[in-house]
Amino acid sequence: MTQIAQEIREFVVKNFLFGQDNGLQDTDSFLESGIIDSTGVLELVSHLEGRYGIKIGDDELVPDNLDSVVAISRFIGLKQGQTA
């Protein structure tokens, strides 16, 4: 697991699951598993923008980018590549 994926996993477990990972897999869909709702997405976006110094556009707020630990990790990697 990459360092980013590890950090995101920790954030999700700490912030949305009160520290209990409940068997969360890195490919689990946050929406389908009910872990993160629309307010949770805002929370996640605020965290990612602050932690990784990126700006997430309206058109990037899609499940492909944000719906699992793996998806976010890949998305952040791409965003950081763009700004590097």
């Binding site: 929406l31 709702d37 629309s38 307010t39 929370e43 605020s46 058109d59 707020l61 899609v62 499940p63």
Partner: protein
């Protein structure tokens, strides 16, 4: 051959439905709530007007009390429409302008402070509202933006970060909760119950404020789709001024349609999508009836499920560690009437 799915499927037999609701209200008041009438917060909108008219039909006009609760950001016609409607119904009503209560609670300053975190110049003379991302071309997460209009009329639209979004929402919820506080004041004073006014779309999709407009002793039209509420309005002969008014939240200083803020689509299309989903109609059929693409219907259905899941807590009573069995088993009223001591 069964005719294709259309708005016709939502048509009610209005007269028996009105009688069924009236009987249910009488039963609720006399058997369960033990109150002598109802108070209804009147906004000049279709839902509160139909609820009040049904209550008059069920209980008689002397047992229905209307409360007008505008504030300084309300649409100018809210007060006139609701007062004229109360007079048209022939019910007693009171005008409780809530501006002073909202000022005392710090609503206006809290709201402006929250907005200034994203629009630093926001202040007197500005107007604003929240809008949702709505039904998008591609499947995406719902997010909210603030539309702010400066005194010269120029508008800007900014996607809200979490803290600002929550702060704006928390502040505006003062409006619904202040109104409910006044409704219960008058209900207690009159020994009446509070009639809530959500329609089915609002109730199902959690479009209400907990302990605000979501609070009530009975909700007589919560089972009716919005187009059915309009149908009852027509049957009950409500004035055109009420029936032709576009649905508005009347919560923000800029005019805001409900479909801008919460629902993915205007109510007539939302009704078709919700009815179709609830009755197992194929998405292709719903799409034709609603003038949408099949994939848009599927996306609206997904949004309906998401809203049901995320707003479920709004419907829940406070959660206990274990049930209090004695209360669950108790009848709604003591079997022996309690007579106050003289």
């Amino acid at each position: 051959m069964t005719p294709p799915f259309s708005a016709h499927n939502l048509r009610l037999d209005a007269e028996p439905e009105v009688e069924r609701i009236a009987a249910s209200m009488r039963q609720a008041l006399s058997q369960t709530l033990r109150r002598r009438g109802v108070v209804v917060g009147l906004s000049g909108g279709i839902d509160s007007s139909v609820t009040a008219a049904l209550a008059v039909r069920a209980l008689g006009k002397e047992r229905v009390f209307g409360i007008l609760m505008p504030e300084r950001e309300s649409s100018p016609d809210t007060r006139t429409l609701s007062k004229d409607f109360a007079d048209w119904l022939g019910i007693e009503s009171v005008d409780e302008d809530i501006t002073g209560l909202l000022e005392a609670a710090g609503f206006y300053t809290r709201y402006e402070a929250a907005v200034r975190t994203v629009v630093p110049d926001f202040g007197p003379g500005w107007k604003s509202k929240l809008v949702t991302s709505g039904l998008q071309e591609k499947p995406g997460f719902t997010f909210f933006s603030l539309v702010a209009q400066d005194p010269a009329g120029t508008t800007t639209r900014i996607r809200l970060p979490l803290k600002t979004y929550l702060a704006i929402l928390a502040a505006t919820n003062f409006k619904q909760r202040t109104r409910k506080m006044l409704e219960y004041y008058h209900a207690d004073r009159l020994h009446f119950a509070v009639a809530g006014t959500p329609n089915r779309l609002e109730y199902d999709q959690g479009f209400f404020v907990k302990n605000g407009d979501g609070s009530a002793d009975l909700k007589p039209i919560a089972h009716l789709y919005k187009t059915q509420v309009y149908q009852l309005a027509e049957f009950l002969g409500l004035p055109d001024s009420i029936r032709s008014r576009p649905p508005t939240t009347d919560t923000y200083s800029l005019a805001q349609g409900q479909d801008e803020f919460y629902f993915a689509l205007p109510f007539a299309q939302m009704d078709l999508c919700l009815w179709g989903k609830n009755h197992g109609v194929a998405p292709e059929e719903v799409a034709i009836a609603a003038g949408l693409k099949t994939e848009e219907v599927t996306r609206v259905w997904k949004d309906i499920d998401t809203k049901r899941a995320t707003t479920r807590y709004l419907h829940l009573p406070p959660l206990l560690v274990e049930p209090i069995a004695e209360l669950d088993a108790a009848p709604a009223e003591p079997s022996t009437p309690v007579v106050p001591r003289s």
